[in-house]
Symmetry: C2
């Protein structure tokens, strides 16, 4: 499959670079910002000193907070993505946007569990601007407009298998995951729970707006983030290439949708899109020299 070959080449190229890249990074600009999102407003009218506490001279802080929430008329900015970017000196084109998968965050692209440089730094060394994303309702973009529960459920052995590390406590044959205890711990401490439901429309909207800021760029997606790569390419003409690593799903034109893949560990139903949408995503990519990076071509 073309995707697998390209992914392997991509990772192989990185591996050859790490050993002799010890000179300092030259960073022209770095910082963070929020992009996308919406505003939710509560009923009522904002009351700086709610009646419930106005006569008090002593109170618990959270009672004062509660009185203010009860009076209402307040806002919540949520469902945005949070982006950390670094632009190297003498930057090359295109910029690279990195989106994590399930349980991920910006951390996915930083230091590896065994302490080697992450994709962020490797690509900065190659001269590309990098944009690391916490998708809406994840990491530092945790403000969701919808309620959610953090269940604190022990489930790491399940993900260990799901992420194809092995069947705990064993490792799959040939797996490159580091096999020491410290790396195992760092890996599971690099995961972080979502603070709201995974919403393709919300995330896609924030990513399309991010590409308006970056201009023509390449979208590097991981796992569950793979879906957002395809949907963003359909929504924005600025996505000039996609590198999908272990993408969780793929879109097909509605007339050519294959059967669902079935498994006791979860069926996967292909994403059906109109032929027009599918064609649009191809068009935006084929207008760029980066088009060969995209497994959609």
């Amino acid at each position: 499959m073309k995707k697998s070959i390209l992914t392997t080449l991509f990772l192989g190229l990185l591996a050859t670079q790490t050993s002799f890249a010890q000179e300092p990074l030259m960073i022209a600009k770095q910082g963070s910002f929020a992009v996308g999102g919406t505003v939710k407003t509560s009923e009522g009218s904002y009351t700086p000193i709610p009646a419930e506490i106005s006569d008090k001279t002593s109170a618990s802080f959270w009672d004062a907070y509660g009185a203010s929430v009860k009076a209402g008329g307040m806002s919540l900015h949520g469902d945005h993505a949070s982006v950390f970017y670094q632009v190297p000196a003498n930057a090359k084109s295109p910029p690279l946007v990195f989106l994590h998968g399930y349980g991920g965050s910006i951390r996915t692209w930083q230091t590896t569990p065994d302490g080697r440089e992450g994709f962020d730094t490797l690509f900065l060394r190659k001269g590309y601007p990098i944009y690391l994303v916490d998708q809406p309702r994840s990491g530092s973009a945790g403000k969701s407009t919808e309620k959610a529960e953090i269940t604190a459920t022990p489930d790491e052995q399940f993900w260990y298998a799901q992420f194809r590390i092995g069947v705990y406590p064993n490792f799959n044959q040939g797996v490159q995951f580091p096999q020491d205890k410290a790396s195992y711990e760092q890996f599971f401490r690099s995961m972080t729970p979502a603070t709201g439901a995974f919403n393709v429309g919300v995330i896609t909207d924030s990513m399309a707006k991010l590409f308006e800021k970056t201009g023509d760029g390449v979208f590097v997606t991981h796992s569950a983030g793979g879906v957002i790569g395809w949907t963003t390419a359909m929504a924005s003409d600025k996505v000039k290439g996609i590198v999908a690593i272990e993408a969780g799903n793929f879109p097909f034109p509605e007339s050519e949708v294959p059967q669902a893949l079935t498994s006791k560990f979860g069926d996967v139903s292909p994403i059906s899109v109109s032929f027009e949408q599918f064609k649009n995503s191809r068009k935006s990519q084929s207008s760029s020299t980066s088009a060969t990076l995209s497994p959609m071509n």
Copy 2:
């Protein structure tokens, strides 16, 4: 009050630097890691293929996940801090550790709401290694060992007053907060909800372990993070100075605890510690030339 004067000087020094600092940053090393935390384990024994799904050939992914959770015997690594660090070329001593306050994360120290460079980049330009913290149960360190609810409550006007920006929609006289709509939006989108209860012991433990990694350093804390500055200095001899910006509370030796401050917006009870603890925190700081930075001296 000594603290206010030092804080003002500190901010004033930064302000004079920003306008002519346009050369690229030289970064010798950057990356992220988790530090501190604990492991929670569920009862039962881990079953790679739970009986509930073993005979199925088709299933929903989350049903398979649920069956695995029900079989139990799995782990959750949680309650760690997540740290992003950058070490400039020809780094000076001491390293600076930055801890956010309520609703904060690493984002607190990055780009300002109106797009200027954050404390992280300003201090890198001055040659200091910087360590930005997502405290346990915040930001990308969201894995908590305790359940929590994300309430998605509109409450920003309350925080607008609490953070002394003004009484919404007005601004306090002389406030330096930018008064345009885009900055307001960026500010409230830089906040992120905690994914578990604020636990002084858990956070202090992770910060003491972080200072074991950084070695002797200065702890820069904001707002609710202020408390953790004092408790970490009492727990670790590596905290050689504290810069507390708008610290939410202060410790006193048990024989000298002043009365609580009372207010309809929440009383503040001083933190009482043993004289030995209080003395220890002073000792660790006075052994360093950075001691003058600490409002505890």
